[in-house]
Chain length 232, copies 2
DNA sequence: CTGGTTTTTAAATAGTATTTTTTTCTGTAA
DNA sequence: TTACAGAAAAAAATACTATTTAAAAACCAG
């Protein structure tokens, strides 16, 4: 049996099961046995075991012989996994996690901006500028502007030269897609081009402190905005 | 065939293959085919495929039909995965990654300390104090002091109340084990108890700014120390 | 450049091994 | 005779093996 979406069967099951778990579908009934899952999804045991292994690698479940497979408590879920975070953000009643995510960005991105100013990786800084230019060029087209906004922020992570920051790219890309849409929805809010530009200018000048503060300014604004959305 | 170490066969293979990949063992020869791996490790195809699936979930390899399995470029490896980071830190010539890791801590931990001061989660703050007390009590015993030091830092992440910070626990625990040993080795250096205590006091008082600065002080010191080790 | 061949992973199928819980049995002491 | 402790057996679930078929992509012959 082939999956409908072009992805492999195992990855299709991974997504289906992952979403079910974060929405609490197995909270009461407990997680099914391998055999039950195979029947339910019409997949072979081999494929099902691969999917289960990947879910347990993400911290969502754990399996033990004779005891079966159990959903792990939420605090063991790997929020830093892009899939896990997306599943969580897509489910209903996910307001809190948007705020917590914004708090984490507030720790990461100003530090990355400061490092980028020190690091002076010219090609990487050029892609920050490209992101900003795309934001300006597509100001009227929400989808393209969203993508450009994300590119801008991710390019700063790259320019920091620190692979730990750069590694957050898939996480941030994924989450910003949902996060920016949320803030734009309520207030008719649009990204502040000037604020973004002032980060870039500081990085280009090699002024780490100013870059840090400019990044902080945008993110504090973002945290406040999400707080407002939640109140509404 | 059962594994020697009590871990499951798939997890044993995961570790063996993961370490081989980060030390560059397959750089020249290319990654073996499933069949070759099965022969080499005497495992069944199913188990081998589970291990390969987990490695690809960590970004180290990718598989495509007919093309075989390939080692991904380093920038695709998931450094935020505790296993991947440990494998990288344990291999020779890993100095750079220690510095980069310290830079990331410098972004995260002061922010977590500030949030902890605002959050005032009493039980969590109590465990920070327990960590500090253990550092004092076991000052003469390197192993216990190391563990206490780690407990202290991790407890701050917990006290922040932000699950993204808390999620870094396995990563930080793993990496600090190797990192603190590195800094202690060279200089005959010991953890600075007073500096640690000043973070705790600020958190207890609810003074976010002071907590942030105290945490920064320790980590800047740590970054410098690692820089010195590299010079040596 | 086209169509078949080959290679390699993807998936399915069936069965064995192992572990751990639960139940049942049994022997002994009150 | 009953109660209980401990041992033995059964059962349930995952862990693992072995093999086969399918599909995709590269390769090669014509």
């Amino acid at each position: 049996m082939r999956s409908e979406l072009g992805v492999s069967l195992a990855y299709g099951l991974l997504a289906t099961l992952g979403q079910s778990i974060v929405t609490g579908e197995f909270d009461k009934t407990g997680f099914p046995t391998e055999a039950e899952l195979c029947v339910k999804f019409g997949a072979s045991r081999t494929v099902m075991r691969e999917a289960v292994k990947m879910l347990s690698a993400k911290g969502l479940i754990s399996s033990r012989q004779r005891q079966g497979t159990r959903v792990e408590p939420v605090e063991n879920w790997n929020l830093l996994d892009p899939d896990v975070l997306r599943w969580l953000m897509e489910r209903p009643y996910s307001n809190k996690i948007f705020l917590e995510f914004a708090q984490m960005r507030l720790a990461i991105e100003p530090a990355a901006a400061a490092l980028a100013a020190e690091n002076q990786d010219r090609p990487a800084i050029a892609s920050i500028r490209e992101g900003l230019q795309a934001m300006i060029d597509h100001a009227g087209q929400p989808d393209l502007a969203l993508k450009a906004d994300i590119d801008f922020h991710v390019a700063i992570l790259k320019a920091s030269g620190n692979p730990f920051f750069w590694r957050l790219k898939p996480l941030i890309t994924n989450a910003l897609n949902l996060s920016i849409q949320l803030t734009n929805k309520i207030a008719g809010h649009m990204a502040d081009i000037q604020a973004h530009e002032s980060i870039l200018v500081a990085i280009e000048k090699g002024d780490a402190d100013t870059a840090r503060r400019a990044s902080e300014a945008i993110l504090v604004e973002s945290v406040n905005l999400i707080g407002k959305v939640q109140a509404a």
